[in-house]
Symmetry: D2
Subunit: 304 residues, 4 copies
């Protein structure tokens, strides 16, 4: 009965995601919300200007929480990424918490009962905080998490191995942050374990994958195209009940925290978690990442 | 034999256009070029990060003019729109001229012989200046011009008349700038002349259409989604030799200047110009717009 | 809350429409229904085989009316077009009536309350008969009607006038059958009234437009690509509440019958009917077409 | 410089592939060729009727070999699948050989120098025969081969294991025919080897995958949607030089025959063959399949 997607926080990331939604006809109604005076309305007009060249139609609504009542998906891209330019992650925690504190009661009041996809940072902490703010099933609240890091790893591997990114599979796991890691034991190139390939250089590839994001960030001070694409893929998987696997941020019972790991996504959000088969070294990295997320979560909670 | 599109100048407009090209699979090779150190490579990585979620593949190349030799289309989005925040259009002329002076010899040296679509501002002046810099047929150099204003008019009319933008037709004409105007005699709503409709209020609609762009601009300091969409539509029309009409900037023999007016686009750029049927009032506005463009062109030429 | 489309009658037309839905990701769930033993399941498998190459996902369900309860749109393509090979339209009326008699009670029992789009023939008669069988608002039941004839007219005009079909506008009206006609007073080429153009030859164009369908039919014994495209466009307009105009079959109060005329489509089906501005000759043709539809309707009712 | 695709043989498979090309905007020019009098022109008109509802444009040309001179890809879907209804594969060899004998000299005369993708049957034999008829590099001539069987296996596994087809990877190999087989050692579900999963039942899945095609075939007497999708994926990979892996039919040096095995596809056709890692049982099946292809090839050659 019609698809509705909300995007809360219309900075570079949120609005690029919105453009992707409109231009691909992913939603019948798109609700964009932003606190900055005049901002959502300005973006609504710019997005609507593209309708003249599309064969699909999307109703675009600005700053109306009430239209999120029956939304299938709300994508949260609030907070202020500019604060981490000076490398102080704590200030990002603060700005994201403030944005959630502002949005959560209004979203709850709308009667929203769909799936929330967080793309704000620090992503895993934000997912947990959202779970605490909304009276929804924990499965309905997820984050893009290491799904983006996985895209980057696949791009770096494809370039190094001279194959198409479609033929690189596997997962980056853990915190969407400095402690994330590629679980190389899961990575396959043309269906072969990458670890068996003669020209596999783990150190170089780790560098290439990690540096990718920072290289973008240091020039642009944000990254938006990869994240907008993964957010739309995940939103599509929810709406079509696709039962697809994404290494996104969702609750891990064993570690008691939301963290990037393989998650089957469908209507209702998390459908299940396929068992991970990691090396002991990878398990250790994952555990370390979980600890890091918990520490950051404590910092957020301490903000009061 | 494969589609290649170049985008020179990867600011907000150029890169959003690039994202649209990649995400819709419009090109087999996309060449993005920018002078700012590290910028094109950063955007290349961010755009490439989206490939993990697409079913099409586009090779993305950064800062390599030589790859434009056989490009079907080059979109020029150079210059610095930020300079017009204080309302001084002359500084924009200066920055755009500088960007063309930088790009033109390198583009010429590549052996490029396709169609150049200018989306920099002031668009009509830039189109003429490009025609002077490149040793190409004048038909191969066009600008988005009032095609964007037309999108905005259609959006404003659709909203006011409660119809879909697909059912609003007609043209904005003249300079892509302050002197542009809606040729209301050409506008049809649900196939009826808008001037016959009882609830047609020309003054209100002129305001709504014109203010749209400024409302976006005053919040964002640029507009990118409408322009990225129209640029891709025009590039598509060139590549598929679509013989479609766009009210874009192309040379008008009668007025001796490139200006926004209905232009049939195909491979090779301008195919023909369908005759305009304007009221005498509209003819006058068009003539005034042509004069304005010539004045600005003189200012540009005077820069030496 | 997810888009569901049903297609009842999976002959060449129904299944091509279904393929278009799956391959463009227009629905989250597609329910295909056919009486021929094993047929819907065979097509379900063939359609599902395409999912391996798509970036979108559609659940495909065979022969389950209960899944149509919350369908946004049901497309009816039942009946047996092969019976008109020998030119006996009455036998087509018979086969279509039988198909509706079979499907209607099962569709009603499902609790379906969306929009039904008929693409079976004779289309206008079938629309009326559906309106009599289902306990829905008359606005919820429409047919593709002369929207397809309009596509064909636009294709023929574009070819004759050397323009793109996107720049040909206007309507074919009346019965989707022999008495349909192009309302040339509504047709515009590059925004100009076609009747003003020096090379406009009404007789030749009438022939070209009308013969198009028969030329396809006489080779293939059915036509499926144009109709599948228009059916999906109309289904999309319903789901996104697009308020777009189609010259489709819907109830005309003045003539007391469902007939092809400009109809604004959105959620709920018919939103409104923009006033037609026809010449007296066109009005006469339209009235004649309405009479023809009523006569055929009487034949159908007489079948008991 | 614009994408041109040719489709020779416009039966159900060829024309569905053509529709997919037009409706997704994959080509700037589509050339469809068929011997049956009036057929290609009828399909050209039906395909062109869909242009009125698309935002892309494709020039559609009927029965003009000369337009294939600079085609990027030619898809061959000639022959007469109806002859195998009575289970006599030899008659299919005969009809396909006749179709190639008819098309090959005309295609050669056009100066075609792109990539030929065979989707006629028996596919592997047809690929080899094409290689003998055209004066092209062997890498330029491939067939869809077991890429379609692989789609079917993935669909069957996804259904049985309750996952999305996107998360099922692996290959069917060998002859596109009765001796094809799933190389289960290559199949991964959610990135895990399927052979490690507790609910993996090889016998049931082999049945489900193989029966899928026959279930479609026994109802429809042809299958078209899966094959049209894979043919377009492969054509896209050629045009965009994607360097993607398909288990399609290409020349295997070790066995001296064209056969379905993992093949990296790009501009120029075959880029390389990633090494296969099969169990000894799978190697045996593959060798048996190669022998079968050679036997059928001998039958074809014996036709004189």
């Amino acid at each position: 009965m019609a698809r509705t997607i909300g995007v809360i926080g219309i900075g570079h990331v949120g609005v690029t995601t919105s453009f992707n939604i409109v231009t691909k006809g992913l939603a019948d109604t798109l609700v964009i919300i932003d606190n900055k005076p005049g901002w959502a309305e300005a973006e609504r007009l710019d997005l609507a200007d593209s309708l003249g060249g599309l064969s699909t139609y999307t109703e675009i609504v600005a700053n109306d929480y009430s239209r999120l009542r029956d939304a299938d998906v709300v994508i949260f891209s609030g907070g202020d990424i500019s604060v981490i330019q000076n490398g102080d992650r704590n200030s990002e925690i603060k700005s994201t918490k403030a944005a959630i504190d502002d949005a959560a009661p209004q979203l709850a009041a709308s009667g929203f009962h769909g799936v929330l996809i967080d793309i704000s940072n620090p992503c895993d902490v934000a997912v947990t905080y959202w779970q605490q703010q909304l009276n929804l099933n924990r499965n309905q609240i997820i984050g893009t998490g290491t799904a983006l890091d996985t895209y980057r790893m696949r791009r770096a591997v494809a370039a190094a191995m001279h194959v198409n990114v479609a033929d690189v599979r596997g997962f980056n796991l853990g915190e969407h942050g400095e402690s994330q890691f590629t679980a190389w034991s899961t990575v396959r190139v043309n269906n072969d374990p990458i670890t068996d390939l003669p020209d596999f250089n783990m150190k170089d590839l780790n560098e290439a994958a990690r540096l990718g994001g920072w290289q973008i960030f240091s020039a642009k001070h944000y990254t938006n195209f990869g994240i907008a694409t993964i957010a739309c893929e995940m939103a599509g998987a929810v709406m079509s009940d696709a039962h697809r696997i994404f290494p996104c941020s969702s609750y891990d019972d064993d570690y008691g925290v939301s963290i990037g790991h393989p998650t089957m996504i469908g209507r209702g959000g998390v459908i299940s978690h396929p068992a991970m088969r990691l090396t002991s070294d990878e398990v250790q990295k994952y555990a370390h990442s979980a600890t890091t997320i918990k520490e950051n979560l404590a910092k957020l909670q301490a903000l009061g």
